[in-house]
């Protein structure tokens, strides 16, 4: 879709939705939720070498209330489930979730009594990143997919529908 606008000296004409999507997709502040070894790879992606900040994920937000994208990197044990759910619930809408690594996607190698077999049992997931662990490039690609998803969103239409129904 991309951002289309007409502009001149001191004015800009575009669609409200596109403007909102442009803003949202260029600032997907991540909530780094690294619970196991994948977390290390996520840190590498956030640090200077791979620099996730180039895509607007400039500020890892350690408070869920100020985050847009939950990067769930690592194993989730069943004991951890309520905490994950709580963190997800604390995030303000709109929010997106990246399940990073085999563990987060499906439980991975830990097909055991203690491990949650995929975080999509508990919270909705937007992008899955396979790998054990995925390389930082994989995470960057996932973030770009999230941005794509945001760009194709219709925030105002949703809002209007809510108004009609609600």
């Amino acid at each position: 879709m991309g951002f289309q606008a007409y502009g001149g000296n001191g004015w800009l004409l575009t669609k409200m939705e596109q403007l909102i999507n442009w803003g949202r997709s260029r600032s997907p502040w991540p909530l780094p939720y690294g619970t196991a070894c994948c977390g290390i790879e996520m840190m590498a992606a956030l640090a200077a070498g791979y620099d996730l900040g180039r895509f607007g994920a400039e500020r890892p937000s350690f408070s869920p209330r100020q985050a847009d994208v939950l990067i769930e990197a690592g194993t989730i044990t069943k004991k951890m489930v309520p905490i994950l759910k709580k963190i997800y619930d604390q995030m303000a809408e709109p929010k997106w979730v990246i399940a990073m690594g085999a563990c987060a996607c499906s439980g991975g190698v830990f097909r055991t009594y203690s491990t949650l077999q995929g975080i999509d049992n508990v919270i909705p997931v937007d992008v899955y990143v396979p790998g054990c662990p995925p390389r930082p490039e994989g995470l960057i690609y996932a973030l770009m997919k999230v941005m794509e998803k945001i760009e194709n969103d219709h925030p105002l239409r949703k809002h209007a529908l809510d108004l009609v129904e609600g």
């Binding site: 069943k78 004991k79 489930v81 309520p82 759910k85 709580k86 619930d89 097909r111 055991t112 009594y113 203690s114 508990v122």
Partner: protein, 186 residues
């Protein structure tokens, strides 16, 4: 004097068996005397550091051993009726002790029967035993008498089984965490 002699002299009749393996000494003591034994090892032989405490479930091992023994017996003498020796108690609790001063290590082993899985807690002697004892309780269901706070350590509180027991399946029995958490708005 070798470590074995010293331990033997210190514990006397409490030591029921010694096993030496690759330079490491393991002494077996009766389950009800563990507090006395640990205390005297600490005070008299200077084992001043508890490096680990863990449980073992031997049920599968004993079953295999019993089967092998039966086979052997059958091969040797078919006519004799099998006099079944009762297997040793199912669980073990092991204490790994370290003497920081002399750089010596000692393993103390107690065997815990399945029908009475109770052991005196050594938290009065070593505070460091608090979490390992909770872990053993969590994984094997062995209760530690006198433990200040005997809750599960790794699994959640309502978990219904003891997962490191050998009869517990690896993939679990379908226990799911009940999502009980409180939110401000409801």
């Amino acid at each position: 004097m070798s470590l074995k002699d010293r331990v033997e002299r210190c514990l006397g009749d409490y030591a029921t068996a010694f096993v030496e393996c690759r330079g490491d000494l393991c002494v077996e003591v009766p389950v009800e005397d563990v507090l006395k034994v640990i205390a005297s090892l600490k005070d008299e032989l200077g084992f001043d550091f508890l490096s680990d405490l863990f449980g073992v479930d031997n049920s599968v091992l004993f079953e295999k051993k019993a089967k092998a023994a039966k086979k052997k017996k059958k091969a040797e003498d078919e006519a004799l009726p099998g006099d079944d020796v009762p297997p040793p108690p199912r669980f073990e609790v092991n204490y790994l002790l370290l003497s920081l001063e002399r750089n010596e290590r000692l393993q103390v082993k107690i065997r815990v029967p399945e029908d009475k899985p109770e052991v005196d807690s050594v938290t009065g002697i070593w505070k460091a035993a608090t979490w390992p004892e909770r872990e053993v309780y969590d994984m094997y269901g062995i209760k530690f008498k006198g433990h200040p706070d005997l809750r599960r350590l790794l699994m959640w509180d309502e978990f219904p089984a003891y997962p490191l027991r050998k009869d517990y399946p690896l993939e679990g029995q379908g226990e799911e965490r009940h999502l009980s958490y409180t939110t401000t708005e409801s």
